[in-house]
């Protein structure tokens, strides 16, 4: 009979309880328990992944409609017909919201984090499997509510993914600001609750369920990234939830948290004394860490892959860990740089500006360490590596414009132009997406037991890499030339006439890039069933997920718990019989 002691408390388990737990640990057999309401972190990870996959194609479709409308403003669009300015804003809003919440937050953390964090630390599951299941289904419900906003009277909201008040706080400000906006807020609130449940699991699992020998400083950088991302989520989503509650009250109970005395269509709204800036402060206290919630997992993954495919240890492991922590910490100190246009005191703006540029330091440490990792390596240009290199390239290209926008004087000029979408799509959007692609190609063999088609993967990479640069680099030039964002029809504006060819080029590039994503989709599903059978460790990597069967069994390690003896990046070890030493291999001796 199982008994345990600790903290002076001695408890004996009953036979009944042991039986219940043994049953709970057995693999479920029925379809519903195995694939729908599963407690297995791996299945939940896949559920998150496929939810994000659906969401990304919805979001991409909306962006395509926007791009078509921008260069052919009189053309009727599929499903929507003629586009009014407010309809265009609806597309902007829903594209941004779906992409930020249900793709960039969902896939890297909920998808891959769920699947691989427990395995990489040698745990049989997440700390709270039931909560994990609830976390996914809550997120799924949030997505359904978000999509439902399209189909209610007035349609989806038009206040942008940032939901600025008072536009978002008064129901009569636009056609989508009625029930559609309520659903938008409720969806995000539901999403927050799901994300918080997930973060709780990630943190507890990482702190309490590591295998013997898996010290914090032996954790793969992917685990560090998921762990810090979870902490960011824990601190940020509660604030967004509170902001959303206040917004719902302003909209439906007549309170005045965000709404001052204003008229809408010549009518007083009945509100008075509220502050739109209060919303901005609360929103961006969440919003800026959200950037790192989206990109930190990709940073962790890039570190992992650059080491694996260069056959070299990561350059400066400790520095990479501290850089992740520093980025996470500084991420909470810089929300004001989104509000330089709000009339904030120049002294406050200066402080936010300095802090923002300070993030460049840990970011540069990471970038140089990535370069140091591949320098002199025996690089294998497999598809995961291509996307990891692509990530670094996009991170640098998108990041380099960050210090421009971090300076209030420049930001006031550039803020409402295409320069900003160009910047954040590269650094937050596409860079993270490249991380998701890299993770897919890297872990697909472990998840599905088959290899993805490498030729299709390479075509996909080049379509995506060239395509995204072709879309988002010209946006910087558009912005510097004064092309304002958020407007649906700019083709008739005289001073912008010379920029129309560039806008057309971007739309054509979007067509080509999206066509390239179909290659990925075909490859993904074709390889699941027809791909070449994968061996347990096809990339000759060192971390624990490659020590177990492919796909991993229900309890991850088939009744065993690995014991960790080595760090996660032992490649090219002198004297070793092969060029890598796995984390569970016998301990290697430090060089003298």
């Amino acid at each position: 009979m199982a008994g345990g002691t600790g903290g002076g408390e001695t408890i004996t388990m009953s036979t009944h309880e042991s039986a219940v737990q043994a049953h709970a640990h057995a693999a479920p057999q029925g379809f519903i328990r195995k694939w729908v309401f599963s407690l297995d972190h791996k299945v939940i990870g896949l559920q998150y992944y496929f939810l994000a996959l659906v969401a990304v194609f919805v979001g991409m479709f909306l962006s395509l409609l926007m791009r078509i409308h921008l260069i052919w403003p009189t053309a009727a669009l599929p499903l929507l017909g003629d586009i009014k300015p407010e309809t265009y804003l609806t597309l902007v809003t829903m594209h941004g919201t779906i992409m930020v919440f249900f793709v960039l937050t969902t896939a890297p953390q909920g998808g891959f984090g769920n699947y691989f964090l427990p395995i990489q630390i040698g745990a049989p599951d997440m700390a709270f499997p039931v909560l994990n299941m609830l976390s996914f289904w809550t997120t799924f419900l949030g997505f359904i509510v978000m999509i439902a906003a399209f189909f209610v009277a007035g349609g989806a909201p038009l206040h942008g993914w940032t939901g600025y008040a008072p536009l978002s706080a008064v129901q009569s400000t636009g056609p989508g600001e009625g029930l559609g906006a309520d659903l938008w807020i409720i969806s995000i609130a539901i999403f927050c609750i799901g994300a918080l449940m997930g973060a709780l699991n990630f943190i507890t699992t990482t702190l309490d369920m590591r295998a013997k020998g898996m010290t914090m400083m032996r954790m793969p950088l992917t685990v560090w990234a998921w762990f810090v991302t979870a902490i960011l989520g824990l601190l940020a989503f509660g604030v967004l939830l509170s902001a959303g509650i206040l917004l719902l009250m302003d909209r439906n109970l007549g309170t005045s948290f965000y709404v001052p005395l204003i008229t809408v269509n010549g009518q007083l709204t009945g509100h008075k004394g509220g502050s739109p800036l209060l919303w901005q402060h609360l929103f961006w206290f969440f919003g800026h860490p959200e950037v790192y919630i989206a990109i930190l997992p990709a940073m962790g993954l890039a570190s992992q892959l650059l080491s694996v495919f260069s056959r070299k240890p990561i350059f400066g492991y400790k520095a990479m860990v501290y850089a992740i922590l520093a980025i996470g910490f500084l991420g909470f100190m810089v929300w004001g740089h989104h509000m330089f246009m709000s009339g904030m005191s120049p002294y406050t703006a200066f402080a936010f500006s300095i802090m923002t540029m300070g993030i460049g330091v840990p970011s540069a440490i990471k970038t140089f360490n990535w370069l140091g990792t591949i320098w002199g390596g025996r690089i294998r240009f497999d598809s995961p590596m291509l996307f990891a290199i692509g990530f670094v390239s996009l991170f640098v290209s998108g990041g380099i414009s960050g210090p421009f926008l971090a300076q209030p004087v420049l930001d006031i000029q550039l803020h409402d132009t295409y320069f900003v979408p160009g910047h954040f799509h590269l650094i937050m959007g596409v860079a993270s997406i490249f991380g998701i692609f890299a993770a897919t190609y890297y872990w697909f063999p472990k998840m599905f037991g088959r290899m993805m088609n490498e030729s299709m993967a390479r075509w996909h990479f080049w379509f995506s890499f060239i395509g995204t640069y072709a879309i988002f680099m010209p946006m910087h030039y558009l912005g510097m030339a004064g092309m304002p964002r958020r407007y649906s029809q700019m083709t008739e504006v005289g001073y912008l006439h010379d920029l129309i060819p560039l806008q057309k080029f971007i739309t054509y590039a979007a067509f080509v890039t999206i066509a390239g994503q179909l290659i990925f989709l075909v490859n993904l599903f074709w390889s699941m069933f027809k791909g070449k059978k994968a061996v347990d460790n096809p990339w000759e990597a060192t971390t624990l997920e490659w020590t177990t069967a492919t796909p991993p069994p229900h309890d991850n390690f088939g009744g065993h718990t690995p014991v960790v003896h080595n760090g996660p990046y032992e490649y090219g070890v002198p004297g070793a019989p092969r060029d890598y030493v796995m984390q569970s291999d016998p301990e290697i001796e430090p060089a003298h």
Partner: protein, 245 residues
């Protein structure tokens, strides 16, 4: 750079695969028992850690509300009749009933702690049942847990009555920013406390259904810490509403 010392037989296929085959056959660390399942102490520690993490966003929620409360209090409002900026923050006189409710909640927190210690003691004594000739005793025990539950429900009912008193004195949700915050903070706290009430009900139902003592013990333990947090939070909210207005 480390060097590899071939002290192990690297030709061993299990090791060369980096497999777990060369490792102990069952869990030996991390507080797991011989059957591979986490023991009581591990589960309790994990549940407490989970609770600690879960309380962080709750804390952030109320920190945000506090921030909004302080900011909103200092904002001027435009008076359309005089076209001047005026203050629209009218302090709400809180119902005296809230003080009684506070006493009820603090008392329930004391009962909750006694309930936690009681069930922990029961769980520790449960092992004596299996020893022949030893009886843990059948003395009557005070039902701290049901008493906590009753006090929790009384507190929630008292909060509802306080809301009615506020409404009767003309302070509705949108009457003034201060009344908006009173309803917001008390309502959000009540929803959270309701979660604790449901957890206690769950523990009671589990007891009636004869589910294991260890599981109930863990539920009661983490609910107790949650309950104490909610009691402390309520005192903070009351001070905020009473003294920062």
């Amino acid at each position: 750079m480390a060097t590899f010392s071939p002290t192990a037989t690297v030709d061993d296929p299990r090791i060369s695969l980096g497999d777990v085959g060369g490792l102990p056959p069952a869990r030996t660390g991390g507080g797991d028992d011989s059957s591979g399942l986490p023991d009581y102490a591990t589960r309790l520690r994990r549940a407490r850690l989970g609770l600690l993490v879960a309380l962080t966003p709750v804390l952030m929620l109320f920190v945000s509300f506090t921030s909004a409360y302080v900011v909103r209090q200092g904002l001027p409002s435009l008076d359309p009749r005089t076209a001047t900026l005026v203050r629209d923050w009218i302090p709400v006189t809180l119902p005296k009933l809230l003080l009684i409710n506070t006493g009820v909640l603090v008392l329930s927190s004391v009962f909750m702690e006694l309930a936690r210690r009681q069930i922990r003691g029961e769980a520790a004594l449960a092992s004596a049942d299996s020893i022949p000739g030893v009886s843990p005793g059948g003395e009557s025990k005070i039902p701290w847990l049901p008493m906590t539950l009753v006090l929790g429900i009384i507190f929630l009912f008292g909060q509802w009555m306080a809301w009615r008193q506020l409404a009767a004195s003309g302070f509705y949700v949108a009457t003034t920013p201060s009344s908006s915050f009173v309803y917001l903070l008390t309502g959000t706290h009540a929803v959270h406390l309701l979660g604790g009430v449901l957890a206690l009900l769950g523990a009671g139902v589990a007891s009636l259904l004869g589910l294991s003592l260890t599981r109930r013990s863990i539920v009661v333990d983490v609910t107790a810490w949650y309950w104490h947090f909610m009691a402390g939070l309520w005192v903070y909210i009351l001070c905020l509403l009473e003294f920062v207005s």
